[in-house]
Amino acid sequence: MTLTVGSSLVERAERVSAVAAAHADDVDVKGRFPREAVDAMIAERLLSIQIPAALGGEGCSLSEIAEVCSLLGQGCSAAAMIFAMHHIKLSSLVTHGQESAWHAAFMRRVADGQLLLGSATTEGGIGGNLRNSICAIEVEGDTCRLTKDATVISYGAEADAILITSRAHADAASTDQVMTVFTKEQYTLERTHVWDTLGMRGTCSDGWLFKGEAPKAQIFPKPFAEIAAQSMLATSHLLWSAVWYGIAVNAVSRAQAFVRAAARKSPGVTPPGALRLAEASNLLQLLKSNTIAGLREYEVAKADPDRLSSMGFAVAMNNVKIASSETILVIINQAMLICGIMGYKNGTPYSLGRHLRDAHSAQLMISNDRILGNTSNLLLVHKQDTSLIG
């Protein structure tokens, strides 16, 4: 176990990133859970940094968490994505669970035991729209029960607890949803799909039939619609953007190492990839600016639930996600052109195949077409923000 006392958050994240990087290729090839990286996160107590200090955490801001996501993304995309997804779930607890005795106590448990939180928002038959559920939670006395055909639960087998959505009751409309925390001993999972994918293989996002029973106090007191709008939407777009930025940074670093190696071999001659590197650096800065602007907007809005639920905020977060997810592919492709066959080939210091495959998930996890459709609908009434600084 590493002692974390006296280290900065960045130093702790860098140590985890180094562990993640050492196993990233193996995690990718085998499509296995990045156990070493997650153990390192636990050792550095990174799983509770978002929890308020009063509940045993460190009260880190979303920007600080995004910085960790980016550092981890530079080592291993899957480990970074798992860290991001855990903190997206935690943001719902921190934002909406503090007034509930059970949820506050659970946050303390997460901090004490460094518990890993999973998410089950997708379901067979809803067509990828997480703001719809088919399954309904059943409340009887003080107990609630839920069965859900969850087509994706990322690292479901490894999670210590799952935050799961459902309709609020048997007669509820499909959009009238609640979210409930179930801890590992309160549910069973039966694997229905195996996650064998192009990239992000280590997130092990298998499909599961979830069956759980728990005290009804574990149902979030707020409707899921509010949770989605006020914590999940923003944190997922922002933390994912930070992960993708990290992947792109590593790709550009590899491309730069390639160009510098060529330049050192023939001083006085500008290597052919140098101009493309300048372009990649430019795009990387754009991606960084986009992510930072989104984080800043969130930090300003977070104290104001009305602003978080506003159309302007939703449009801004949607735009951050679209821009980041599209730009990383261009950047990594550019890096691949710079490194040539050495980038295309696996097992070289300049290999970029894993980066490119992982990056392709960005446009699909919450489909960009769905997000653009949502934005285009909002723009029918919401007026475009015309300010520069805000």
Partner: protein, 84 residues
């Protein structure tokens, strides 16, 4: 005004239940109003009342119930009594 709002909700709200079954203060989101449909309702209301919602009113709260919509519209037409 509320009847006009209810007509628009019936036409564009895509609710799984008839609007008549909902009280003026019933939560429209709990009744199944999706974010897509809420925008269509806003457009219908802008057209019907010849108003334009400023961004400050474009949030979930303004469209939470028939009462809330009526209040929002009333604030725009500048006649609080019209909300009754």
């Amino acid at each position: 005004m509320k009847q006009k709002i209810r007509d628009i909700l019936g036409k564009h709200g895509g609710l799984p239940v008839p609007v008549d079954t909902l009280s003026d203060d019933a939560d429209l989101y709990a009744a199944g109003l999706s974010s897509f449909a809420s925008v269509q309702v806003m457009l219908g209301i802008e057209e019907a009342f010849d108003v334009e919602f400023p961004d400050s009113l474009l949030n979930r709260k303004s469209f939470q119930s028939v009462d809330a919509i009526a209040r929002a519209v009333a604030s725009l037409v500048g006649n609080a009594e019209a909300a009754e």
